[in-house]
Every structure is written in structure tokens, then in C-alpha cells.
């Protein structure tokens, strides 16, 4: 499908079915942030409603495809959380259900996109159930969510699953090169995006963010060369920054985990951060795999705790105590 990266298995099968007119009445599109779930939903709608018919992903140029892209197609309805609310309300779902009962205006289908289903209030989720089970014949519901565990089991069981997975870094690099024609930039950005095309596009365009991410990678090595007192100073600063920018802290910990992974598994496997291989290898030699694996386990736990809103400073300080110490990583003042 147009501009949809990775997921070859998933898309190949789906296209075939959509074009044969055998769309299921409900799909559950799941996958991590910025991986392209909404794009995927739009492409499905375009495949179903494209005026040329039988074009996987839609032609992208006909009136129907363009209207869908702009969110202006009368037969495609998107349900999202209003910016001033915490959740998608039951009223929004009811309104959609009333609408869905009517025959489509332009094409053969009425498509509903719910993004993100985890934001549906519990009542709204339940009110979706009956529609999801036996919707009108012209209906196709596309339910978007990060993980199926975030929504009611009864909803999941009524949908066909479309699980999107991280895009291999090589594929991301190729895509970035195609887009920007800048090989150096592609090499730099692809490993930072953690398999998410959306993140890659943002990083390619935003130099400040890119520099920030690269600096985060180097922090780990600096910390290994720091004495405790300096580490605690760092933890303090990072925790203060995290008060305003939690995702930033999560990204930082994930990047560190990726470095530890590279160090633990050695050279036999493609490294996630090829530019840092020299230092990860050195780190492994100094601290030992076992030691690093342990730190990685602690880091994973801390990241989970942070996800459940634990205290950032305590978490970081614990990590500071656990990180191995090797003076050769000390940065010349």
C-alpha cells in the first residue's frame, strides 16, 4: 500500500481480500506509537472506496481518495477523543451508530475509524459491542489501539486482528533515503527511530530533536566514566527535565537499553547503533556481559515502573548506583 512501510505479510493478504470485496466487518489495528496505524486505516478505507476500484491502497489521486486523505469523505467517519476531554464518550459512539445504519452516500461501504480505542470510555466500549458483532452489511469498522490488552476482550474477539510490527532498521533507512536522498541523514536517523516510520519522519525533519537523541546515546558512556557524585547530579537534572517531558525520559532509557543490548550480544548480530559499536564493545570488555545484562534488567524494570508513574528521580538514582564504573570512559574535562 502507498507509503506504508514494513508489514509485508499483513498487507499482502489483506489487499487481496479487500479487492475481492471480502472485507471483514471489523478490524483491530494495533501497534506501537508512530508506526503508521492511522495511515493504515486510511489506506484500507481508500482501497474500499477508491473510484478506480481494485487499486490496493487506493489510487491516491481520484476524488474519493483525496477526500479520505483530507478527512472529508461522507462515508468515512473518524471517532477521536475531543482535545478538551479525557475520553471518547458514549454519545459519540451512539451518533456514529445512528449514522452507520444509513446506506452509504457515495460508495459501497461506510467506514468508521476509531482512534484510539483505548480512549473509549468503558461505557462507550460496551455500547460498541452489539454494532461490532452484527453491523449493517455496508459497514467496515477500523478500531485502532496500541495494544489489544488496553481494551475489552469482548471487543478484541469481535474483530479481525491486524497487528503492525516495528519496521526493520534497514527498511527504514531505505525509505528515508528515498524520501530525502541524503544517505548520511538516513544512516543517522534510522537507528534512532526504533522501527517507527512516524518517528523517523519527525527525526529526519527536526534537527534539534535528532541532536537531542544522539546526545542521549552518548550520555550512557559518559555516566559509566563518572563518579557517583556526578552521576547523582546528572540524575537530578534528568529528573527535573522529565517532569515536563516524560516521553523524553522513556526514549532515553530505551536508547540506553539498546546500547546495553548491543554490548551484551556482541558482534555476531547486527548492532542497533552501528556508530557506537567501538564503545559498546569496549564497555562489554570492561564490565563483562553478566554485569551489563543485570543493569539492562534493572533498566527494563525501571522503565516499566516509570510507565506506571513512579518517581523519576528515585528510579534514575537507583540506576546510577547500579551502572558499572570504568574510569577509561571518563570524559576529559
Amino acid at each position: 500500500m502507498r507509503e506504508l512501510l514494513g508489514q509485508p505479510r499483513l498487507i499482502g493478504r489483506l489487499e487481496e481480500r479487500l479487492i475481492r470485496g471480502e472485507a471483514s466487518h471489523a478490524y483491530l489495528i494495533s501497534g506501537p506509537r508512530s508506526i503508521g496505524k492511522h495511515t493504515f486505516a486510511l489506506r484500507i478505507a481508500q482501497t474500499l472506496l477508491c473510484q478506480t476500484g481494485r487499486t490496493p491502497g487506493g489510487c491516491g489521486t481520484c476524488l474519493a481518495c483525496r477526500k479520505i486523505e483530507r478527512g472529508a469523505h461522507p462515508d468515512v467517519r473518524s471517532i477521536e477523543r475531543p482535545p478538551d476531554k479525557e475520553r471518547i464518550s458514549i454519545e459519540q459512539v451512539r451518533e456514529m451508530e445512528r449514522d452507520l445504519a444509513l446506506k452509504p452516500l457515495e460508495g459501497e461501504y461506510r467506514v468508521v475509524i476509531v482512534d484510539d480505542a483505548a480512549e473509549l470510555s468503558p461505557d462507550a466500549q460496551h455500547s460498541l459491542l452489539k454494532t461490532l458483532e452484527e453491523p449493517p452489511r455496508h459497514a467496515v469498522l477500523l478500531i485502532i489501539t496500541r495494544t489489544p490488552q488496553g481494551i475489552e476482550e469482548t471487543i478484541v474477539s469481535r474483530c479481525q486482528p491486524l497487528a503492525m510490527r516495528p519496521v526493520p532498521t534497514q527498511r527504514l533507512r531505505a525509505y528515508l533515503f528515498e524520501r530525502t536522498a541524503d544517505a548520511e541523514l538516513a544512516d543517522l536517523v534510522a537507528p534512532l527511530a526504533q522501527g517507527r516510520p512516524g518517528a523517523a519522519i519527525v527525526l529526519a525533519a527536526d534537527e534539534a530533536e535528532r541532536t537531542r537523541r544522539l546526545a542521549m546515546l552518548d550520555e550512557l558512556f559518559d555516566l559509566v566514566g563518572m563518579r557517583l557524585i556526578d552521576r547523582f547530579g546528572f540524575a537530578n537534572r534528568a529528573a527535573q527535565a522529565a517532569a515536563k517531558d516524560r516521553p523524553g525520559l522513556e526514549a532515553r532509557l530505551t536508547l540506553w537499553l539498546e546500547l546495553l543490548r548491543d554490548a551484551c550480544v556482541g558482534n555476531a548480530v547486527t548492532p542497533l547503533h552501528p556508530d557506537r559499536v567501538e564503545r559498546t564493545t569496549r564497555l562489554a570488555a570492561v564490565a563483562g556481559n553478566r554485569r551489563l545484562a543485570r543493569t539492562a534488567a534493572l533498566l527494563t524494570r525501571l522503565r516499566d515502573d516509570l510507565d506506571r508513574n513512579s518517581n523519576a528521580r528515585t528510579a534514575l538514582e537507583l540506576l546510577m548506583l547500579d551502572l558499572p564504573y570504568a574510569p577509561e570512559f571518563e570524559r576529559a574535562a
Binding site: E97, K130, T147, L228, T254, G266, G288, A293, E328
Partner: protein
Amino acid sequence: MPERRALYLRYRSQTFAELVGQEPVARTLRNAIAHGQVSHAYLLTGPRGTGKTSTARLIAKAVNCLRPKDGEPCDECEHCVAIRDGRFLDLIEIDAASNRSIDDVRDLREKVRFAPTSGTYKVYVVDEVHQLSGDAFNALLKTLEEPPAHVIFVLATTEAHKVPPTIVSRTQRFDLRRIPHRLVVETLRAICARESFRCEDAALEAIARHASGSLRDAESILDQVATFGDGAVTQKEVADLLGLADADEVAALFDALAASDAARGVALVEHLVDDGRDLREFTRRSLDHSRALVVAQTTRSIPPEASESAAAALERQAKAFTLARLARVVRRLTEVDVELKYGEVSSLSLELAIAELCVDAAPQPTRSEPPAARESARPTPPSARPSPAPQRRAPETPRSSSVVDLAERRAAPRVEVGAEPPAYALETVVSVWSTVVDRFRAKSMGLATHLALAEPVGVSGQVLTLSFANDFARAKVSSDTVRPELERQLADLVGSGVRVRCVLARAETSSDDPMLRAAREIFRKPDRILEVE
């Protein structure tokens, strides 16, 4: 448009006999209806996809059928056909999740009074009933208790605990259970025969395993596989669709773990990801495999259903793993399973687990801690350090820094012991220690607590050294009223004369290094603390 109604809708059970896996419920209902003992209200509960809505419709059919046979609807008469097609006027389905207010219930109460149009009974099916609001439930109470003679209520829900007890007690409750694996497979096979799909047994097994007792899930998967495969349901298609790992890949992971080859294990995960496989599914299969290994090791038998290559792998690996190591593998993989469940989609957590497990196979770890600060980097003179410590442990980790065991430097009491050959083993004392504590518990709770926190640290001749965390406890136990009694009890349990010496655990109290104290608190008494310089 071609037929695009899902299989699970087309194959809804149309008679009690067709209802899968709910034998007791079906029989009870059929008998009641055959004997004219129809209740005025039913409550159907059970997990997703077990047949609640189907049963509700069956009740409507059975009571309204023109030619019922022993309580079983004929599925041919006018009424049965009308119900099947969803156009029978006396079957009213209410979606309680969308119509959950008190006004909706009031409206319902009004309508309930009118006689059925064509059938014998008017049947109200209230699906997702747990979603009614509190007021709505209460408004329903009177109607539910004594409805008009021509009305039957069938309430259905996945969450029975959310239905108020006052409602439950006015209904006959039936709990539908998860459908057994075997029955799911048989049902799938029957559908394949009716739809003339060509199917492999292994494929149906895999589908049923994935559906875990929900027939709707199973039929939904079958639906997808069959359309993609153009009517062929093969193991490969199912594995592809669900992202299942095959047994050989799972076995390959365990071979890598057995060889402590982290690189190979991680390369395998990389390959799975590139292939678009579901890592959570793979982790689950790996957990199953480790269970099979535990069984193979303890019973020395290979499950007969294992394929030839799987049996060979089990036999090979059962020799390569110790039970303790397998336990670690299971624990770590379970953690990964949870991480993957809650949104961690990248392969990182599985890769790290593999790296960790491969490293774990080697002997006990060392810890390197950074010095507290520049000025306190050398809190004690170098002569106090037993330098051979690092070489003794973990020879496989090359290390450029020298490592010092802080705990050893702080010389815990155990170092002082060992002048005479012991008259009994320290392990014996440790193993009976809880019994000793129990015996004292009857006399004095406080004393028992002191003893429970005391640590037998050494034996020299008949003298047992007990280490105490604080001086108060030490003084209490070594007092002339307590010590002789303790010695008697110990002699009784150990089977030799015992003299007790009480000392203070110095490592705990040494206040010269706040860093060490902090580290101890944070890591909750680690085995040892090392310092890297």
C-alpha cells in the same frame, strides 16, 4: 457483493443439540421447556464466545416453535425461520450497553404489557446487561419479579459480578463455561466439511489453542485462514496468519541457551522479527517448551504427541539444562511475556532476556560499584584489601579495573571463626534454626524475634557463633537466663554439646563508610559488595 457475513454468524447454533460444549445448560433448558416449566427470567453468564447470545435466541425459539420436539425447536416452522432471520416480532433484543438509562427501562416496562403478536411468548433478550445503570436495574426489579405471563426475560453478560444480587436472585442463572479444546477442534472440522474447506488437523489444533475456549475466536480465525488460503486450511497458513513460531525455531532457541550462545539466540530473534512473527506467541511457545523440558527431565519421558524432531530436541536439551537453570529460564520468559503483553512491542526485552540467561549459566556474578566521590574513593588503607578476590570469581569476564570486596574488607565475624575443627556442621544449625526459634516463641515473643534475626555464622569446636544486628538483642540472648536454655535446645536438635557465643555483626554497624551502608540498604543485604577502582 459476495457473502461477507462472518463464519461465526453463519454458524450460530440453531438447536440445543448444536450448542457446543454447554451440555448441562442445554439439557436443563430443554427439559424445562419440554415440561412446560419455563422460568420467567434467565441470566446467562460466561466468557466471550461461549454461546450466551446463541442460547438466548434458542430459548426464544424453543418456547415459540410451532412443532417442538422434547423442548427442541424444529428449526423449520415459520416461527423458527423468522427468529433465525432476525425478523420475529416477539423476540426483542435489547443492547443494554447502548440503552442503559432508567428511561429505556421505563419504556420497556410499558411495552411488556402487550400480548405477543404471533408467538406464545414475548422474549426480551437483554444483552450486555451489566451495563445498565444502577437506577435502571432497580426500575427493572419489579417487572423482573412478576412479569406478565406471556413474557420471558433472558439477560446475558460476560461480567456477572456487575449484576446486582437483587437481579440475580430473581432469575435462573446459567454459567456457560469455556469450550473444551477437543470440542472446538471438532466443531471447526464440521464447519470445514460443510464449507468444503480442505483442512489439516494440526492447523485446527493450532487455531483452537489460540482461541482458548472461545468458539467465536476460533471460527473467526478459521474464516480468515480459509479465505486467504482459498479454501485450504493448512498449518503453515495458520502459523503465518497468527505469526506462530514453529517448533524447530523454539528448539533452536533452547539449543542456543544450552550453549550459552547469546549471539545465536539474538540472531534467531532478529530473524523472527524480520519475518513478521509475533514475539509474544514465540515466548509462549518457549514457555511451553521449557515446561516440556522440566517434565522430560523429572519423569525421563518424552510426551508421545511430540513430533520426531521435537522429541529429539527435548532429549538433547533435557541433558543440557539443570532444573535450577530451567526455573530461571521460565521466570525470565514469564517476565518477557508480561512486558510484551503491556505494549513493549520491540524485540529488545526478549533479546536482553536471552543475553541474561546465557550469561547466567556461568558461575556467580561480581558487582562493580562506582566510588562515592573523588575524595572518598579510598576510604581505607590499601593493605586492608585482600587482593586475590577478583581472580577467584568470574574468570570469563575480562576486567581492566581491579575489584575489591568491601564486605571482606569490613571483615564480618565469620572471618574470626575456625580455630578448632567443628564438632557439628554449621549447616545443621542453620537447618534447625527455625525450630529453635519456634520453641522460644512459646516462651517469649520478643526473644523469638531476636533469635529469628540472629545469624549462625560459625562453628569452632563446640562453640557456635551467633551474629546479632544490634547490641540489645545480643545482650538479651547472651544473658545467663537465656543462653543456657538456648544451648540445651540446640544440643537437643544438633545432637552434640553446644556452647553459644554472641557477637555483634560489625559490618552492619561500621559507620565509617556511609556509601557502604547506603548500598546495603538499597540492595537489601546483597551477598557481597565490590568496589572497582
